[in-house]
């Protein structure tokens, strides 16, 4: 896997898109799965208890998606 770096001339959103594109070279389905579910982890300003509950829910969604066939991974938000 080649080295990845952020481009200081781009916005954070554009750099995050580039990051996902880079992850897709490692595993496109997993990259899409991460991208589609990551927003459920926000905001970070909530208490650690709520963030912990969100993390468990996130990982359950990932597990449910993993149980599907590899071909369908990442096609839609879990």
């Amino acid at each position: 896997m080649s080295t990845f770096s952020f481009d200081s001339s781009l916005s954070a959103e554009a750099n995050i898109e580039r990051f996902y594109a880079h992850l897709s070279t490692l595993d496109a389905n997993f990259a899409a799965l991460l991208k589609n579910n990551l927003s459920t982890m926000l905001p970070l300003s909530d208490s650690s208890q709520i963030r912990g509950t969100r993390r468990v829910a996130f990982n359950r969604a990932i597990m449910a998606a993993l149980e599907k066939s590899e071909a369908t991974l990442g096609d839609e938000p879990a």
Partner: protein
Amino acid sequence: MIRYYLVRVRIEGFRGINNSSDPLDLRFKSDAVNSIFGPNGLGKSSIYDALSYAIRGCISKLDDLPHAEDASSYYCNRFHATGSSTIHLTFEPDDGGSNVEIRVMRSATGDRSVDSPTGYSAPEELLQTLNSDFVLLDQNAFLRFVEESPLQRGRTFSGLLGLAKLSEYRQVLQTLSHRRNLNTDFDISTLESQLASARRQRDVALAQARSHFKSLTGKELIVPLDPHVTLGEAEKSLANIELLKSHLATKRLPDVDFKEVHECMRAAEKSDLRDELVLLSQAYSTCVALKATSEEAVDQEALRNLLIKKNTLLEHTHGSLLPPVYQSTLRVLESADWDERLCPACETLREVPLSPEIKARQSAYQLVSECQQEIGLKWKSSVWVTRLKSVEASAELTIANDDQCFHRLDTVFCSGTANVADLDDAIARLKAVDVLLKARIQQITKRKEEIEKLLPPSLVTLSQQIHHAEQLVEQIQQYVAQDVNESTISAQLAKRKKWIEFVEKAFSVFSEAEVALSTNKALAIESEYQQMYAEITTNPAVVPKLQRASGTEDLHLRLEQFYGLTDVSATTLLQESYRNALALAIFLSTALRSTQ
């Protein structure tokens, strides 16, 4: 991108500014640094609060007060005739266009409304573009930057550099790639335990099948086991037995009704001894299957080590009453209106935030809990434990319910309260029932030999062959079932481990890239804030430096030079006014860089 300069502010009825029907009117130059000065109590802070409310929609210092203070009712001036507030802001665009006027109002009931008397189409959006980390800085912002933890400072600095969103993503990825969380959330230990159990049961079935196949055919079983071929060989061995011909003529061995076969043999032999021999053969097989395996000692030792580990971990905890206290303490410390260095229990002000220490203590309890779970899983998945249960419950040994101890031990191990003495108790109990088992096998063997001497040799052999055939079918079915189970769990585990590897890699890649970008941005402003600090303090003997810790978000405030000393802590050595100067230099140089 168009930049907007604030050239006029008019305020009425806000905070300390009453000015009913005669707004306070301030004008600023767009080509100069503007300052407001005046005696105490004249309203300088209220002007700052008005700009904060207009741009951010709130006044942080009020909102951070305890709920009982009812801070929202102090936004509007309490003496104003209508109890409402109006803030007019006039901006001059740097593209030569017309000035933009935006009016922000707060009603007596606290409702906010925004419009533009000059007809600007999106006044709220324009105000939002002004809401960046280096606009509306106050002394508290400077103090926090110097005194907060390196981690929090690193995150604040990321915000100043325009990297707040990347910092946020990094934190999320860090949470998602935390190995202990992943192992718990994805049931990795449970699946690994189930996998080991399926493999053991498959191997036991294979060993049994091998033994019955050898007894039936006189040949060695070919491994890997092919059920079709193996059963075919068994059928050939049984093909010439007259009594079985009708049963095997149209069926494969697994489809044979062995109950029917036994009935046929009984009818042919007309002997109660025949029935007893069948029962004894079954009893013999049952008892032999319950005998100890060579792996048991290893499993018992592994469980003993886990129990010792749990005792060691327990020494780092302080009883069962404290975890809820830690949980409550952490919730208080994480609440917005609490100083994280102030102990909620004794209200002692500590030098450093309490949260890391509380989390470390919670972590000690978490480790005990995980170890208890591991003990429970090990207990459940150990073959010798299953054997203890089976032997005690076996009809061959007829142990009275009151004398059985498996269920008591099972409760102890699964509830997490087991200790080494319980393990010794279980092992001793297993040894005791093994003695009973051995005696029962000797008894069965003796009785079988007696009957075999009384029966015609041909039927004895036939009886044994049928018994081996029946057992072979059963063990092959068990082998296939466990093989499928093993494959299913293996695939499940592999998928989850692949995800874990992926998310860990994602965090590693993101983190390295974010650190590199942040470091480069910090280096780009280094000469600017160092020069600005020197100009503010007129002291060239002290040179500050921001240091990003490798691989983390921590940002350290260091002094590259301090009267001949090199690389020393800025937070501990600088007096308050110099700390403010340092924070000011960093914020301003960052702000200047962002506008270039």
